[in-house]
Subunit: 125 residues, 2 copies
């Protein structure tokens, strides 16, 4: 468990305030507004540490940037390939999917990432 530093709290709060799937840069920008002395390196290190400690989640998205999500509630994502928007999804069929894989393959399954791609309501016209 990482140490409870001032920066760690500020970065966690900043991420939660954003309430989306921000890149490191976006978290850094948010944090910098109120606390310009916090370095981007520290944002990198803390987001990774917080994810490791299970307080936030890293998010996998097709743009290849490191992204984080302040909530730990299970949900999935949809990425519109035209406007590049990202939307949260809830699909109930998948609640026990980790167990299914665990049973079928014998792995110890800890989590999964699911991202759909296509066109959102506006863009599919």
């Amino acid at each position: 468990m990482g140490r409870n530093t001032v920066q760690r709290q500020i970065i966690l709060t900043g991420l939660q305030k954003l309430n989306s799937h921000p890149t490191i840069d976006e978290v850094y920008a948010e944090v910098s507004k109120e606390h310009p002395s916090i370095s981007k390196t520290t944002v990198y290190r803390n987001l990774r540490q917080l994810a490791n400690d299970g307080m936030i989640r890293q998010v996998l998205l097709p743009d290849g940037l490191e992204r984080y999500d302040g909530t730990t509630v299970e949900h999935h994502h949809f990425n519109c390939t035209k406007c590049n928007g990202i939307l949260d999804l809830e699909i109930d069929v998948l609640d026990d999917i980790d167990d299914k894989v665990q049973k079928k393959y014998g792995f110890r399954v800890e989590r999964h990432d699911l991202v759909f791609s296509g066109l959102c309501l506006n863009c599919k016209e």
Copy 2:
């Protein structure tokens, strides 16, 4: 549809020969063995073009690198967080998941990426 250049064929064949989920660099290395004059830029451009044309698939994995898969057959991945190995999975429950999302949310769903994480058989001991 991209043009059918010599390089495009060589890169496609190289990817298929690897039969895994190689990074750009790994495809480039494979291609370079026989065809050292093909540039890495060309590998970037062709893999992206081939994916666009539906002949190969881009793969989403937690390391943030651009990765490709020579097969277009639907399957999912498991990433061992200890040894970092990547394994292919087949889970039949998910066959109609794109349709489910399409119906529930109204998006035009074209594909999805699903990656599990945890410990593989060897590493979970």
